[in-house]
């Protein structure tokens, strides 16, 4: 066993070599490293998931890629660090990751007391209801007397009670701690309704419906009863880096609004529209103001796509989740996605 111990010391040293360290301002550190370290979720369908080759894909992943494209001109210079709900803020505060892009709700206390900075909202989420289609329910207002599966100790549970009380309805809660068990209970018919964030409902429906049942056997009701704005987060201390993260996302929204897509971005370079010229860096100035290459929006749109493309590919109609744009449509289409002008 002493021999094992000696062999062990060697390996301990070898593993230790992999430790990372950086110092100074966040942006300098990112540039010196040549890589952006992005904290992401540990597997949420459509938002952060891995394909068969272990490559990360998703709506949240695209935000990381956009930031990388803005800084390096290459969307692939990202190291993804999966973080759980418990450790995500520590990972950001301690410098283990440069930014978080992992379905994190924007609230006042998180933005202030935790020393963090939300840079935007890449997905407007909210609590919704999922029911089996065979119940024939069309609206949450028809749920009087229903049994509802819900996770305890979350704002979800409180929102649920508030909503039913406000609408003078009653419900029987089935309170289960673990998400997997809640899903199992819902699909086994132990409750009529499953409630959680709408994005969670869509991904549960798409990814967890057990085999004999089909995702189409379940409907997600149109009512959204709470506000859950999800967005990327950075820590206080480097305002330039914060600006880049903020505007890398806005650039995707702005590109969609101006009809710039990954397909037509090269033709758009020849456009006469002064806004488009400014956005794509044909008229210089924007990149310099932000401290990145003038072609930053071109690189983002070319490599990642605009917000609409990213939404469609990952969670929208082009994916298995089939989430409607809803609140996440552009403001010009009646949604909430609105970018301040790039000028």
């Amino acid at each position: 066993m002493l021999k094992k111990m000696a062999a062990g010391v060697v390996t301990a040293g070898l593993i230790g070599v992999a430790g990372t360290a950086h110092a100074g301002k966040d942006l300098d550190a990112v540039k010196a490293r040549g890589q952006l370290i992005c904290g992401i979720a540990t597997g949420v369908a459509g938002f952060a998931q891995q394909d068969d080759k272990g490559k990360w894909l998703g709506l949240d992943i695209d935000v990381c890629r956009a930031v990388s494209a803005a800084i390096f001109g290459d969307a692939e210079k990202v190291k993804y660090v999966p973080t759980t709900a418990q450790q995500r803020f520590t990972a950001l505060q301690s410098g283990e990751v440069d930014m978080l892009s992992r379905t994190t709700t924007y609230t006042l206390t998180r933005d202030t007391a935790l020393g963090l900075e939300f840079t935007g909202i890449n997905y407007y989420d909210g609590q919704g209801f999922m029911v089996p289609k065979k119940l024939g329910v069309k609206s949450a207002k028809e749920l009087n007397g229903a049994t509802v599966c819900v996770q305890p100790g979350t704002t979800t549970e409180l929102n649920l009670a508030d909503y039913f009380r406000a609408n003078k309805m009653t419900f029987k809660p089935v309170v289960i701690e673990k998400v997997e068990e809640i899903r199992a209970a819902f699909y086994a018919g132990r409750c009529d309704v499953y409630t959680t964030d709408a994005s969670g409902l869509y991904s549960t429906r798409a990814a967890n419906t057990p085999a004999p049942l089909k995702p189409d056997d379940f409907v997600i009701l149109p009512e959204i009863i709470s506000k859950e704005p999800l967005g990327p987060v950075v820590r206080h201390g480097d305002n330039q880096f914060t600006d880049i993260v903020r505007w890398a996302f806005y650039a995707m929204v702005e590109a969609e609004e101006h009809g710039i897509t990954s397909k037509n971005v090269d033709e758009m370079l020849k456009s006469d529209n002064p806004s488009i010229k400014r956005i794509l860096g044909v008229t210089p100035g924007m990149g310099k103001a932000l401290g990145v290459d003038e072609k930053w929006v071109y690189n983002i749109v070319k490599q990642v796509g605009n917000y609409g493309e990213s939404f469609d590919r990952n969670v929208g109609m082009g994916s298995q989740l089939k989430i409607a744009r809803g609140l996440n449509a552009l403001w010009t289409n009646g949604g909430l996605q609105y970018s301040p002008p790039i000028r």
């Binding site: 002493l2 000696a6 593993i15 597997g43 450790q87 085999a211």
Partner: protein
């Protein structure tokens, strides 16, 4: 005696057919009474029914060739999902074209474990096997290794120290001089290195592209966490167990305190401490590799449990063994290593392997700090909405792989128990 026939002429008559062979066995064990007969038939029918349902689902109506989850739906098991995802489940996000590296790393580790399971290797060969095995494993996983000078010096110091402790009465003067030289070089070198006199220098071996631990996943992660967790925890646990029986109050107090502290908290809390608390105490900007943090947490935790198991073995030894060793003039290391531990460890093999098996499975708790071991990559495979809704298949597959490992360990424990107790069996 009124035998008509002389004893030598008696022909042995075969027992009745219904008392031997399978028929006899069945009659004796399964149908010895009406009640037992009915129970047997009912249970047999149940087993056939379950097996029929299972085989129908898992084999006859199963889909092995579908290319999307939608094609799979409706029939039996969707093994096409496993076929599509098995590389991801085994190796996680390790660069896809380089999957041969974790594959050979796993093979190297298994070879290392199988070889060290053989009792004929339990001598200096073990050191060679683990040295070469670990080197190959980590070279393949990392792609590049940098061995710093301080590590080489530390190894020299430890090797010399061990040599001196174990062979103090037996070594020839020249051998002893070699040990002193090793200790001297190691100690002086380390002091100079820390004082900054010696430069930071390292041997670089870099035949492959570097792959950092955050990209590791799947089976190699489970194997490395479990193997090295236990390989370190074992000697560490022995030291703790010996320390707990020490006569020196300080050492005893430290060991008891450590063991009770670690055993008093769940592994999850240690892992969360390592991933949530530790970074806040470190100077800003300094991070310790997440994988290393998890590995250390596993070692500390397993060490405390192994210490308690080994203490049981130490307590089972009669006092005479200690006294006899003392009477022969052996010093403490010799007494412990040559007389006490070989006997104590033999007694605790079954509970020790039990601990090993437990820890092999416990390593999947590292998911909560965002490391993807085998079970967690299997979980990730379920997230893909293109292959929605086949959790049963994936978990069965994961369970099957875990079963292979745990069952082999359990069989090995059985073999070892018989092998080591040959002397005491009559």
């Amino acid at each position: 005696m009124t035998d008509a026939m002389p004893a030598g002429d008696r022909k042995p008559i075969a027992p009745p057919v219904d008392e031997t062979g399978p028929l006899g066995w069945a009659r004796k064990n399964l149908f010895s009474s009406w009640g037992n007969g009915i129970t047997t038939i009912v249970l047999l029918a149940f087993v056939v029914w379950v097996l029929d349902w299972f085989l129908e689902w898992a084999l006859f109506t199963a889909n092995f060739t579908a290319t999307t989850g939608a094609e799979c739906r409706g029939g039996g098991a969707c093994w096409a999902l496993i076929r599509e995802k098995f590389r991801y489940i085994f190796f996680g996000s390790f660069p896809y074209e380089q999957h041969w590296r974790p594959l050979f790393a796993v093979i190297a580790m298994l070879a290392m474990l199988v070889l060290s399971a053989d009792r004929r290797m339990w001598n200096w060969r073990l050191l060679v096997i683990w040295g070469v095995g670990s080197f190959v494993t980590f070279l393949l996983m990392f792609g590049q290794l940098h061995i710093p000078l301080s590590l080489i010096l530390a190894v020299a110091l430890i090797a010399g120290g061990i040599g001196l402790a174990l062979r103090s009465g037996l070594a020839t003067p020249s051998e002893r001089m070699a040990y002193y030289a090793l200790v001297g070089i190691g100690a002086v070198g380390l002091v100079l290195r820390i004082a900054g006199v010696l430069p930071s220098w390292s041997i670089a071996i870099a035949p492959l592209s570097y792959v950092e631990t955050s990209l590791w996943g799947g089976l190699p992660v489970t194997l490395i966490l479990a193997t090295y967790g236990l390989a370190f925890a074992f000697p560490y646990g022995i030291l703790l167990a010996l320390g707990r029986r020490s006569n020196l109050p300080l050492i005893k107090g430290l060991c008891v305190g450590f063991i009770e502290l670690i055993r008093g908290v769940p592994l999850i809390s240690l892992l969360i401490m390592a991933s949530v608390m530790l970074p806040l105490f470190l100077p800003s900007g300094t991070t310790i590799d997440k994988f290393l943090r998890a590995q250390v947490a596993v070692i500390l935790f397993a060490g405390a449990y192994i210490a308690e198991v080994i203490r049981g073995g130490l307590q089972s030894l009669p006092k005479g063994q200690f006294e006899a060793a003392d009477a022969m003039g052996l010093n403490y290391p010799q007494k412990t290593l040559l007389i006490i531990l070989p006997q104590a460890l033999r007694v605790v093999i079954p509970p020790l392997i039990n601990t090993f098996i437990g820890f092999f499975k416990d390593t999947s708790l590292v998911l909560i700090i965002g490391i993807f071991d085998f079970l967690n990559t299997a979980n990730q495979a379920l997230v893909d909405p293109n292959w929605a809704g086949f959790p049963g298949e994936v978990y069965l597959f994961a369970a099957f792989v875990y079963f292979i490992f745990c069952y082999s360990m359990s069989r090995y424990s059985k073999y070892l128990e018989l092998e080591l107790n040959k002397g005491t069996r009559r």
